[in-house]
């Protein structure tokens, strides 16, 4: 041959080297970023949360259904947490669907597998590069959402202390760290969805079901979360981690569900990625008709994941003290007493009344479920009551009487709260009198008018709290 061939990297007959991993990864990123869809999503992630948080902070009607929603006008740190609560339900699974759920399937749609395989010469590297590229893009989108929501909150409302889910007031610096930690906690469950996206993308090829797998799973999980499942099942699902971060906003933090959630999410990430990898490297790249089959996705994907769920349930049951719904009368009463005392101290300070302390109040609560008349004088529950199966579990029919001592007097104050407890352990306490304690009235504070902290507040029962 006459033409000079300086381009040829190896000599004639040498075994071919696969393309370097760094270059393969770079190419995968270039391909992802070149897609309009990804660019539009990134733009939305950068703008939408910030605008939402900043705008909501100026409103009078706040999304109180979501945790921290009622604080959005008072602290800029509530915004990123409300966005996190929203995102965990839909946005993050959907993002992973659109990124990881498509990263393999797109080559099927474009018919570029043969080209890619021949050029890179290593299906393993292609898999690793695609997985890492989608991980990078998913993380970038998450960071964009978190940054946008935080900036929206800080610029729109400002960095102010935030009341936690047990009435504890977290200082601005403390809460900043916890917000960051909360977003870090949901990285792993988001990656679990991403791994399922990879699996769907590998198994289903051109079929759109692969793309939708994480979104479908998110939908399924939403339905499951609404069912009155035992806490052990709830905690063993990766979606639980999208709720568990709330435990960072109590004092002391409820770390049990977070640890369980992280371990479960990690197991999902590892298993789903390993399954996707196995299916991918066994694939026949000369076959153009890779449309996936119901059987393949069932045997190669869903069955092992169902098995993992079963193992997780068993592990949580054995390794943690969880029983039943995880919500008992005792845990609820404890949680309410703590929240009430702390918020009462806050209210007293806001109203410039003589200072009280939590300890001096000796607050106690008595809760009953299902319209039973609360026996107002007993502040402790008898063993018989605790065992009563009707006096346990979630529901919007909990009614509690809180009593406390006013320091320096013999007067015992009493207030009634209506509690709506959801199966995930979160509750909303709604003041039901007397009006002077937990009625709806504004309080003038340094940051403007704030609602009475005891009127309505959020609480969180630790599903993994040791039972008495």
């Amino acid at each position: 041959m006459s033409a000079p061939a300086p381009a040829r990297p190896t000599t004639s007959g040498a075994a071919p080297l696969p393309a370097s991993f760094a270059r393969t990864l770079r190419f995968e990123l270039v391909k992802l970023i070149a897609q309009w869809r990804i660019r539009v999503i990134l733009l939305c992630c950068l703008l939408a949360p910030g605008v939402f948080v900043a705008a909501t902070g100026q409103q009078t009607s706040l999304p109180a259904d979501t945790v921290f929603g009622r604080w959005m006008a008072l602290s800029g740190w509530a915004g990123p947490l409300v966005v996190l609560a929203f995102a965990g339900v839909w946005a993050l699974p959907l993002l992973t669907s659109l990124v990881a759920g498509d990263v393999f399937a797109i080559e099927d749609r474009l018919g570029t597998w043969r080209h890619l395989v021949v050029t890179v010469r290593s299906p393993r590297r292609i898999f690793a590069a695609k997985a890492l590229a989608s991980l990078i893009v998913v993380l970038t989108l998450m960071i964009a959402i978190a940054l946008s929501a935080t900036l929206g909150g800080l610029l729109g409302v400002g960095s102010h202390p935030l009341v936690g889910l047990d009435g504890h007031m977290f200082g601005a610096g403390d809460v900043a760290g916890r917000v960051l930690l909360a977003w870090l906690v949901v990285v792993l469950p988001t990656l679990a969805y991403a791994a399922i996206g990879l699996l769907g993308s590998v198994t289903m090829g051109r079929s759109p079901i692969g793309l939708l797998l994480p979104a479908l799973l998110a939908l399924l999980v939403q339905v499951v979360q609404m069912l009155p499942l035992p806490a052990v099942v709830r905690l063993a699902l990766p979606s639980n981690t999208f709720l568990a971060w709330r435990g960072l906003f109590t004092s002391p933090a409820q770390t049990g569900p977070i640890v369980v959630g992280l371990v479960v999410s990690l197991a999902w990430v590892v298993l789903a990625t390993a399954l996707a990898y196995r299916l991918f490297v066994r694939r026949d790249f000369t076959d153009l008709t890779n449309d996936g089959s119901a059987r393949r996705i069932a045997v190669g994907g869903l069955l092992p994941l169902a098995a993992l769920t079963a193992v997780s349930v068993a592990a949580v049951a054995v390794l943690t003290p969880v029983t039943g719904s995880g919500i008992t009368r005792a845990t609820l009463q404890d949680s309410l007493s703590t929240s009430f005392s702390r918020l009462y101290v806050l209210q007293t300070a806001q109203l410039h009344r003589p200072a009280v302390t939590e300890a001096a109040m000796q607050t106690a609560s008595t809760c009953t479920k299902g319209g039973l008349a609360a026996t107002s004088t007993t502040s402790t529950t008898s063993a018989a009551d605790a065992a009563d199966p009707t006096q346990t579990g979630p529901g919007n029919d909990w009614r509690c009487i809180v009593s406390w001592h006013t320091p320096g007097t013999t007067f015992v104050g009493q207030a009634t709260f209506q509690l709506d407890v959801t199966p995930d352990g979160r509750y909303v306490a709604d003041g039901d009198g007397p009006k002077e304690v937990n009625g709806s009235f504004p309080i003038h504070t340094a940051q403007g008018d704030a609602p009475n902290p005891l009127w309505q507040f959020d609480g969180l029962v630790d599903l993994l709290a040791p039972h008495r």
């Binding site: 041959m1 381009a7 190896t10 075994a15 043969r114 890619l116």
Partner: protein, 318 residues
């Protein structure tokens, strides 16, 4: 440098029940353009994919550029090309598509501009491939294959979708490469393309080689051809033809004064001479079906989708 780019012996490849390649032998010297033809499903793409390393033979020996190939993705450097259409990313520009290949395979950056120029796409190098016509994609696919200065170029239906000018350019590029010593193997459904480009051709039918050799030999395989004759005196000419030895007059309805006869080349030579002797002027004498196409049809059976038992065996080809 070895003088044989490809040496294949008894290559067999099955996909489940389907035998895509069945004992294929193939020899391709460097510096030649080799055509691979055959009906749909004959195994052309499977064979070309194997040469690119996409799959490896179930049985048989395959040697590419002097290296024995026994595994997937183990073909030596210096092999390039595409099967079943070029692999291109529509969201990227032409240049970025090529740059990606160059980066992944470690080719220098200048090779991208060089390849774009060779296929005539320099002007649209910064346009997204999304808007490219089929012909432009084929040319870009060829450019991608040229990046590493290959010594074996494998092209699956490279002239698909090309307009006459594009085809001429692609053919020119391929011929230049062959002149520089690159071996080219290409498949095509168009016998005229094969005739224009290739010196040798292999004809596959349901996974078997039914012919392999120079084009001139393939034309001879066509057997008796049908010829259309247009003369100055149709009636007289017809009677001369019907009386001629080893010539069959076909009833085939022709719209004008022409008629169709069937015969081998020597018999046709004699008929021509007789017509002239009888004072009849020959205005047109042409095969109804071009010889290469006729040979293709004769060797593979008239309809491409025939059952294996009806396709000619190797003996028929000889």
């Amino acid at each position: 440098m070895q003088d044989r780019a490809i040496r294949a012996r008894g290559i067999t490849k099955s996909f489940g029940e389907v035998v895509a390649l069945d004992g294929v032998d193939l020899d391709i010297p460097t510096g030649t353009v080799h055509g691979l033809v055959g009906p749909n499903g004959a195994g052309k793409t499977t064979l070309l994919g194997m040469l690119l390393g996409l799959s490896s033979p179930d049985r048989g020996e395959l040697e590419i550029l002097g290296c024995p190939v026994r595994q997937d993705l183990a073909v030596p450097d210096g092999v390039a090309g595409f099967v079943d259409g070029p692999g291109l990313y529509p969201a990227l520009t032409a240049r970025k598509n090529l740059r990606a290949v160059a980066a992944l395979r470690g080719y220098p950056a200048w090779s991208v501009e060089d390849a774009l120029g060779r296929v005539g796409l320099s002007d649209v190098a910064d346009d997204a491939v999304r808007g490219f016509s089929l012909g432009m994609r084929q040319r870009l696919g060829l450019a991608a294959a040229l990046l590493g200065d290959p010594r074996l170029l494998v092209l699956d239906e490279p002239s698909n979708g090309l307009d006459p000018a594009g085809k001429r350019q692609v053919h020119g590029t391929i011929a230049d490469l062959a002149a520089q010593g690159t071996a080219v193997i290409l498949s095509s459904h168009r016998m005229d393309d094969v005739g224009a480009l290739c010196s040798e051709v292999t004809l596959l039918a349901t996974g078997r080689v039914v012919f392999s050799g120079p084009l001139s030999k393939l034309a001879a395989e066509s057997g008796d051809l049908d010829y259309r004759l247009l003369t100055s005196d149709p009636t007289h000419a017809r009677s001369v033809a019907s009386a001629a030895e080893e010539i069959a007059l076909l009833d085939g309805a022709t719209d004008d004064d022409a008629f169709v006869v069937r015969g081998a080349v020597p018999a046709m030579d004699r008929l021509g001479a007789e017509l002239v002797r009888a004072g009849i002027a020959l205005r047109e004498l042409a095969p109804v079906t071009p010889p290469l196409e006729a040979a293709f049809l004769a060797l593979t059976g008239d309809t491409p989708s025939e059952t294996p038992s009806e396709t000619p065996s190797d003996e028929d080809a000889r």
